[in-house]
């Protein structure tokens, strides 16, 4: 029974016993076991990434009324391995004008910025991470995003290519701007949970935070898509004008790392969406049964988030860069800040009320705010349209 309650802890203790049995000092054993744990997580993530390639290709083909990969293996399941072999045997080109060190470092940083995000993901209530909650987890997500921004500008600059530099500039401008509403919205679960630790945020979700702050969940989703640089915010790699954006000069496995990093990043943000607003590994007490079940619940929720991100990506058209930035600065950021203020105020005012009053007033305030913001945007766009087209005729005249 002990093993199945916490398989990772049991395995770690077993390894500790073996290593100390060989006469290794206590501290070295701890470091070694922690290192092996990290290695295990990374290997699992990389295998997951291979699956994601297949999922992405299958889902996009369904959205576009195609069949997708179906030749290699059943349902094309072996296709990602064929892709990897293709990428590995491709010639690995470094352009002659490139800044070699920076050029080769950028894909590694891109992959790294995604992998370090998983350091704060609470996989299950009983698994090791539960009692070692990083008390600044919510901010850590944004910090990892900073490293991914860095990798993009390094890739764009070091390739010594105009397209890649323009793509990197656009991408970085978008990422930096959308970081602000994301930060504001990350503070809302923090207000509810009274802690920035991700485990505490998950523990506080007796009612999922999406019911307390649906607008915040929506803003986080939009900002996450922009952070990922996926359509409709994929101005940085707009194929029709920039060829491929910041990764244009990369080939072989270096390109593969950008690609795999982007897929895993999308999945990770689906996971964070689930953790922050949809209860993480919690599902009506089912997570207490077995940690493996809890991990499965989290992965299932993350896949739903990932699927929504893919749905948006393959059905919404690309937005022009100035529209994208003014949408962020003039609409999303003010809305996120007003929402943050309203939530903090209501949280302080309603602290003593019964839960149903608290939840329903939070929910209604979010809906009211979203409706008000949309009304403002609509009246603004009507004024703008009238400037161009002239006032709308009041009544359609009908001809007999």
């Amino acid at each position: 029974m002990g093993f199945w309650n916490d398989p990772l802890k049991a395995a770690a203790d077993w390894l500790m016993d073996i290593f100390t049995g060989w006469g290794m000092p206590e501290l070295a054993t701890q470091i070694l076991v922690a290192f092996l744990g990290v290695l295990l997580l990374i290997v699992i993530l990389m295998v997951l990434d291979i699956v994601l390639v297949w999922v992405e290709r299958k889902v996009v083909s369904r959205f576009q009324s195609r069949i997708g990969p179906n030749r290699v293996g059943p349902f094309g399941l072996i296709q990602p391995f064929a892709d990897i072999i293709k990428l590995l045997i491709k010639e690995d080109i470094t352009p002659s004008g490139a800044d070699k060190v920076v050029y080769n470092l950028a894909p590694i940083l891109s992959m790294m910025s995604v992998l370090i995000l998983w350091a704060v993901v609470p996989l299950a209530p009983q698994i090791l991470g539960a009692d070692t909650d990083l008390n600044i987890g919510a901010l850590y997500i944004v910090a990892a995003g900073a490293i991914s921004t860095l990798s993009i500008i390094m890739a764009g600059w070091s390739s010594n290519n105009k397209y890649s530099l323009i793509g990197a500039f656009r991408e970085v401008a978008v990422m930096l701007s959308f970081e602000i509403p994301m930060l504001a919205v990350l503070l809302i679960p923090t207000i509810f949970a009274k802690s920035m630790g991700i485990v505490k945020i998950v523990d506080a979700q007796d009612t999922w935070f999406v019911f307390l702050a649906p607008l915040a969940a929506l803003i986080f989703f939009i900002a996450a898509i922009a952070e990922l640089g996926r359509a409709p915010f994929d101005m940085g790699e707009a194929e029709s004008e920039l060829v491929a954006g910041y990764n244009i000069e990369y080939s072989g496995m270096k390109f593969g790392m950008f690609y795999a990093g982007e897929l895993l990043h999308a999945f990770t943000f689906g996971g964070f969406w689930a953790i922050l607003f949809f209860g993480g590994y919690r599902f009506f007490g089912l997570e207490q049964v077995n940690p493996i079940l809890a991990v499965a619940i989290l992965l299932f929720k993350a896949f739903i988030g990932y699927w929504l991100i893919m749905w948006v990506r393959y059905t919404v058209l690309r937005i022009r860069i100035d529209h994208m930035l003014s949408f962020n600065w003039k609409f999303l950021t003010p809305m996120a800040f007003v929402l943050l203020m309203v939530t903090a105020l209501l949280n302080a005012l309603l602290a003593e009320t019964p839960p149903w009053v608290y939840v329903s007033s939070m929910f209604l305030s979010n809906i009211a705010l979203a409706w008000g913001a949309l009304e403002l945007a609509r009246s603004y766009s009507r004024r703008e349209r009238e400037k161009v087209e002239g006032p709308k005729p009041a009544v359609e005249t009908t001809h007999h």
Binding site: L134, N135, L139, T149, L150, W157
Partner: protein
Amino acid sequence: MTPDQIVFLIVALFTLGSGFMVVTSGNLVHAALWLISTLFGVAVTFALLNANFLAVVQVVVYIGAIAILFIFAVMLTRKDIRDQGPQVNKNWWFGALLSVSTFAGLYFLLQGWEGMSKTASAFPSGFDAVAELGNELISPTGYVLPFEVASVLLVAALVGAVYVAFNPRSGK
């Protein structure tokens, strides 16, 4: 030597080495990238000091915003992507002398102080530095006034920067 001392020495050497590259590198984009690795080393130093919040804010603010701004500025202020001409002025030896003597002066000043070999006390049980910091920043008996003044400063700097960098010929 305890393990955390070894970690500190590695981090300190890495940080000082990249700091030295920041001030000597001929290519300004490289200097900005070395600045990022220096800032990262400082973030690790904060983590070694158990100042988690400062470590993460260091990464978010410095690496995510300030360093990227530097790279943008370097790229926007060059006619040519290459750097030409000497990167140091003709009085560089005087600057080197002054900085070495500053370090020597600080070192001798610190040597004479008895608090130098102090070691850190353990945290009181149940002490959450981040929560404590948050309470202090907004408590009227704490630091709410400096905090608000800092936010006013940031808004003023934002408006000022937009005004100064605004190009009236290309703007609407």
